[in-house]
């Protein structure tokens, strides 16, 4: 009998200990003041490499100080971002502010307003003077940020200059090209030659390391006069896979894949692996962003010889101007691009004040350049980043330092300043790549933010899910060769059966109402 009591006592003690352990953790969080705003905001990888909460970054500390508003940051983690966002939506227990790509909300942002999830900023017009002033004086931005019903659902992230809409493209190992006496490739055939040389002479195991997602940025596929997903052509919305050129593109990629020119892991690539591929010399070419790609790799180059060069979007015939390339709209549909205020919030006006600050003069400088005298100095009216940012003593890359002091390296509720990129992309490699990548006709093709009519949203959500999953699947299978090109017509037929034509119809309606805004 005694034993039983002993065991019971032991269990009880263990439970108590465990409960108190957990209890303590909770107490700390609950003690934050009730006047604070809850802000659900994804934490970028660069930021996370130094801190685990935005509250610890100089930028957000300063923001809270100048606005006099306390913010409690909630960072989603432990699953994909979209899962976490959907779980948040299902919880029906919303924070005051949410930063996310609200264009993906089922039924679109207008539906979120109609369901009473978020507010229409226009209803509190006088509380956001800076944003309203900016939007009213920029008609193009207004068109992109407003729903078809004329509601302003968010504090949007805005690219303050056309050149900022290009920040990604193809890049190659310059030192390898020089060593092998090769030019920067322009056509698909030249690319093939270069990649083959990388494979044979530099024993690169994955000469071109690129994710399936990266094809959406119109590289390679653009040469065949089409692109992945939806785009604008002949004044209407089109879908790449339905174009005849797409099959040729897939056949070429299939050839590259079977020859070992394309990373044989490409459908499963993640950033960690791409980093390793490039730095270990397993790859000689990749799709890179200006700062987080070229800039970061150059600063952590494994040896002195390591050098990168940007390549133009590939074309079929030498001398052609690329029709397609990477280009974002001025209000890009990115993860962190739209900050909304939830309708349930008890502190809507405080939240308006906090977010509107980003569109004021001072807010603009703070979000883009950080703290004057610390992260930047005004030199002849030009905000110049200090050495703390550009040549950090502790060895942190510029990308990481920017992520602590600014939001311009990614996005947020403000207008991005070109002068940020001028300094971030100040390496000769970056400047020339930036210039090369800008030279496309993509402006004619980029799809604006479409706001779908309320009665079609549910239908489109189900169609999209079915179409996207299938499209991704067959694209990978054709490239890898697990599906033969004999089956191509069947695959397209199934795509139609899944309702691609209906999806285009709905999107074209939305596009027409966008044009008539």
């Amino acid at each position: 009998m005694k034993k039983v009591y002993k065991i019971t006592a032991l269990c009880a003690a263990a439970i108590l200990a465990a409960v108190s352990l957990v209890g303590c953790g909770k107490g700390e969080q609950a003690s934050t003041s009730q006047k604070t705003l809850d802000y659900w905001i994804p934490l970028s990888g660069s930021t996370a490499s130094l801190v685990d909460n935005l509250d610890k970054t100089p930028l957000y500390q300063k923001l809270q100080e100048v606005t006099g508003i306390d913010v409690n940051f909630i960072h989603p983690s432990g699953g994909s971002l979209s899962e976490k966002f959907n779980i948040l939506m299902a919880s029906n227990d919303f924070p005051d502010m949410i930063q996310y790509n609200w264009l993906t909300y089922p039924g679109g942002p207008q539906n979120a307003i109609d369901e009473g999830v978020i507010i229409d900023i226009y209803q509190y017009k006088d509380k956001a003077p800076n944003l309203i002033k900016y939007i009213d004086s920029n008609k193009e931005i207004k068109k992109l940020a407003e729903t078809n019903e004329g509601a302003l659902f968010s504090f949007p992230f805005v690219r303050g200059d056309d050149s900022l809409c290009v920040s990604w493209g193809m890049a190659l190992r310059k030192d390898w090209l020089d060593e092998l006496n090769l030019e920067v490739p322009e056509t698909i055939d030249e690319w093939e030659t270069v990649l083959r040389a990388f494979k044979e002479k530099k024993s690169a195991t994955a000469p071109l390391t690129i994710t399936t997602g990266a094809f959406e940025n119109s590289q390679f596929v653009g040469a065949y006069n089409t692109t992945m997903g939806y785009y604008i052509g002949d004044n209407q919305v089109k879908y790449g896979l339905l174009d005849p050129g797409f099959k040729e593109f897939l056949m070429r990629m299939n050839k590259w894949y079977s020859e070992g020119l394309l990373d044989n892991n490409f459908a499963l690539l993640d950033n960690t692996t791409i980093d390793a591929n490039i730095l270990n010399g397993a790859s000689g070419a990749a799709g890179l962003s200006l700062g987080n790609g070229i800039g970061r790799y150059m600063s952590s180059a494994p040896d002195d010889k390591f050098d990168l060069v940007g390549a133009p979007s590939p074309v079929l015939n030498k001398g052609d101007v690329p029709e397609f390339g990477y280009l974002q709209t001025a209000v890009p549909p990115m993860t962190n691009a739209f900050t909304v205020i939830c309708a349930d919030s008890k502190k809507i006006e405080t939240a308006m004040e906090f977010l509107d600050y980003g569109y004021s003069e001072e807010g603009h400088m703070l979000y883009n350049f950080g703290i004057e005298g610390d992260s930047y100095n005004m030199v002849d009216g030009y905000p110049k980043y200090t050495d703390k940012i550009t040549k950090n003593e502790e060895g942190h890359s510029m990308n990481i330092m920017l992520s602590q002091y600014t939001a311009s390296y990614s996005s947020g509720p403000f207008v991005q300043d070109k002068r940020y990129m001028e300094q971030y992309a100040s390496l000769p490699q970056q400047i020339s790549a930036w210039d090369t990548w800008t030279k496309t006709n993509m402006k004619e093709h980029v799809l604006p933010n479409l706001y779908i009519a309320a009665d079609k949203q549910n239908e489109l959500a189900i169609l999209d899910n079915s179409i996207n999953t299938y499209a991704n699947e067959i694209i990978t299978k054709f490239i890898v060769g697990t599906m033969s090109f004999d089956e191509y017509d069947n695959a397209i037929a199934e795509l139609k059966q899944r309702g691609i034509e209906r999806s285009l119809e709905i999107r074209n309606e939305a596009y027409q109402s966008y044009l008539s805004k």
Binding site: S80, S82, E83, N86, I87, M89, A90, S91, N92, P106, E115, G116, V117, T205, T212, G260, N264, N265, A267, L268, N458, A461, I462, D464, N465, S466, T469, Y470, N472, E473, T476, K477, V480, T482, E494, Q497, R498
Partner: protein, 316 residues
């Protein structure tokens, strides 16, 4: 055991059950005690069954159960007519039946072999090593699989050296099934063999001795004495396994699969998860889940009926 059971029935018949009132008067303490248990079942088993009614709605969490629009069987019709339906059904059945075909006999064989080993040390060693994988978490097992089959992993490298095709094995739709089944067997064969070993140890040794005298060989003893002696255990476990046919290990699949191999790896439960948590089609995904539950129930009842009829073994 039979005697005990008979005795028990006798007792329960003797204590003639009285009226409800007498029962409550006598057992109210017991009922009070079991309330937490009943609450658990009400809250976490029956409440979700009721909640599954959102399968007939265009459910929006914001509008809630009472505010969402009722759309009848639309979600089901949509699912059954979608091109995904045959694929999902096929994958679910292929994966679980293949696992059953290879995974079910494996522990029986292992137990039979182990039973024949007379050397205690060998037996102990084999048991220890084969039970071990059961205690490694699914996440770690899948993590190991992912690392091993990548081009830089041990299996990836071996396959690359043999075939010259050094690509990630998890990108090839044809290979998902073997990868899944083999890792499943690796993890469970030892642990599952324990139950058969236990059943085998209960076999009457006299039977073997009698067979020895008759001059029976090892194999004939296995076929005529050992195997029949574990028949009941085998059938019971088989029915239970059949009941899980529609419930493939979705946690494991979720950890292993990727869009490139959805064709062979996407099963009903992973589809439910993606539709719900990745695209917020809550009503639709609930409908798909409900379909799965109903199939499950039908399967187990069916299997049990058959086994009851022919072998007189039943779960309830």
């Amino acid at each position: 055991m039979m005697n005990k059971r008979a005795a028990r029935t006798a007792i329960s018949q003797k204590t003639k059950q009285g009226s409800w009132r007498r029962d409550f008067h006598k057992n109210w303490k017991l009922y009070l005690m079991v309330i937490p248990v009943l609450m658990f079942y009400a809250m976490f088993c029956y409440k979700p069954m009721y909640g599954a009614l959102i399968a007939f709605q265009n459910f929006s969490p914001r509008l809630g159960f009472w505010g969402s629009e009722w759309i009848g069987f639309d979600n089901f019709v949509h699912f059954f007519t979608s091109p995904d339906f045959p694929k999902l059904l096929k994958n679910t059945l292929t994966i679980s039946i293949t696992t059953l075909i290879f995974g079910f006999p494996a522990p029986i064989l292992l137990a039979l072999f182990l039973n024949e080993v007379k050397n205690v040390h060998v037996k102990k060693f084999v048991q220890t090593t084969t039970y071990l994988p059961h205690f490694i978490s699914v996440v770690v097992v899948c993590g190991m699989v992912k690392i091993f089959v990548s081009p830089q992993g041990i299996i990836g490298m071996l396959v690359g050296a043999l075939t010259g095709n050094n690509s990630n094995l998890l990108m090839n739709p044809k290979l998902f099934l073997p990868i899944y089944v083999i890792s499943e067997i690796w993890q469970s064969v030892g642990w599952d063999s324990i139950i058969y070993l236990a059943a085998l140890s209960a076999v009457d040794t006299e039977q073997y001795e009698a067979a020895d005298i008759d001059g029976a060989g090892r194999f004939s003893k296995i076929f005529y004495i050992t195997l029949p002696s574990i028949q009941t255990t085998t059938i019971t476990l088989f029915i239970l396994a059949l009941g899980r046919v529609m419930n493939v290990g979705y946690e494991k699949i979720m950890l292993l699969y990727n869009p490139a191999i959805y064709e062979t790896s996407d099963v009903i439960s992973t589809y439910v998860y993606r539709l719900g948590f990745e695209t917020q089609n809550w009503g639709f995904s609930t409908a798909v889940g409900l379909f799965n539950s109903v199939c499950n129930l039908a399967l187990i009842v069916g299997a049990n009926t058959i086994s009851k009829k022919y072998k007189n073994v039943s779960l309830w």
